[in-house]
Amino acid sequence: MNLSTFFNSVVGMYLTQSFCHSVIAAMITDRALKAWSIYDPLVRQRFRLIVILFPIVSFPLYQLINPARSSVLFRLDALFDVNRWLFLEIWGFIPVSLFFVLMFVATSLVFFFQEMLPVLRHTLDTEHPEHEGTHLDVDPFMGEASRRLSIKKPEVLLIDDDSPILFSTTGKDAVIFVSTGLSRALPPEQMHAALAHELAHIARNQRPLLIAVFLLRIIMFFNPIVLVKFRRAVRDEEKICDDIAVSLTQNPAALAATLSVFYQKTDGPPEPDPRKLFRQPVSLEEYSHNLHLGDRIRRLETGADGRGERWGVPFLITLLTIAVLNYFIV
């Protein structure tokens, strides 16, 4: 099977059209968020979910509405026909479709190693927990906060490490891990803010909607746009949990101060060093991590959270625009 035959098949059309539909959806949602000045992370995440979920169903849905949509005549009058680019040949012998295949393969590998494997490891850890650490008593705060979030109070374990570490395992018996280094660095109100943030993660992970979104997102494993947007949605999740933590503690300054403990100060992106080619991604990751933390700290300090915005009409307009426009993109 050559590339042109593959991209004319149902599977090929699904891959290319879902990619194109996600590009258009991403552009439209980004513009909608700017046009309507939407800053609430919960609402922003809902908009991003359009980009992640819509391309999964768009192609089969459109084909169901109009089976002739994949015909040559429809393609000739379409707003954008991706096949025109796919069948283009650079210097008369390198098909553009080859670059599409490479892009899909690279994205699939990134998805598998950076998303799927860590999730599988986390799931296994949660199913067979090896909780090593000493119990940390943070009551009555933990009991009260868990009750307000309607979740079972998780255990808090202190692990012996000087670095500032804070994470939680989800599932039926969730556990929050705090390093001794962090425990020493944080005064009680900041420790409460940190634990409230983790409680928010535990509470939100128990909602089947988020799990369903991740399971559906797996279908788009090849799609680089979905990969990026899913990561942004995960970053929104951090901000959503910040908001929940603030609602529990009523102390945004304490959470901002807690986040600054994790912030490693850098003056800018790392300079490229050819001798350290393989170490570069780690530095970039740290830089990106810092940028995100900096953004969260600023947001908590300025209080510009945009909560309570009206978003129903813009959301509907955005969704309809994406659905209509993508119908003419084949």
Partner: protein, 181 residues
């Protein structure tokens, strides 16, 4: 006053969004046109068979020399490409009703998919049918609205040929015979 400011703000937001959509549509149209400008071989509409010959350098185009009276010449639609594989499709309408009555397709790869107005929905007979030394397959049946229709498929050199017609097999075989030497 505050209500008016809110109204203006809302209007501005809608306009800003609409403007961006307009620009996006425009950009898509341009991006869609670029490959056509660079690659003459891509699938497109043509007005005449001669135009296809000249543009795509297709040496062998199979056109019937016999047409029943009810089929009008020239073809109502001609689609052709030479990349990624050579393919051409001609649609002919019925002189009186103006609806598609005959489709001739020749292709090196898969047949160009069109909104198939001649789709044999109920096959009553499918037989091997030798035609001027070629092993053709003749399919007879009914299209939509119980309209009799039939089709012939065979291999002609590097091309797969398909001729579909809303008629009896008698007319169809005469058309196909007139296409072959």
């Amino acid at each position: 006053m505050i209500g008016e400011v809110d109204m203006n703000k809302t209007l501005y937001r809608f306009l800003s969004f609409a403007l961006m959509i307009g620009l996006l549509v425009l950009a898509l149209k341009v991006i869609n046109w670029i490959p056509l400008a660079f690659q003459q071989d891509a699938v497109r509409r043509y007005k005449t068979v001669e135009e296809v010959r000249a543009a795509l350098n297709l040496k062998e185009i199979y056109v019937p020399s016999y047409f029943p009276q009810q089929i009008s010449w020239p073809p109502s639609t001609i689609l052709a490409q030479s990349k990624p594989f050579a393919a051409m499709l001609m649609e002919f309408t019925r002189a009186d009703k103006r609806n598609t009555a005959l489709i001739i397709s020749q292709s090196e790869g898969t047949t160009l998919i069109v909104e198939n107005p001649i789709e044999i929905r109920e096959v009553t007979e499918k037989v091997q049918y030798p035609i001027k030394g070629r092993n053709a397959v003749l399919t007879v049946g009914f299209c939509r609205k119980e309209e009799p229709c039939c089709g012939i498929t065979w291999t002609e050199g590097k091309y797969t040929m398909t001729v579909l017609m809303k008629s009896t097999p008698f007319e169809l075989t005469k058309i196909v015979e007139s296409m072959l030497r």
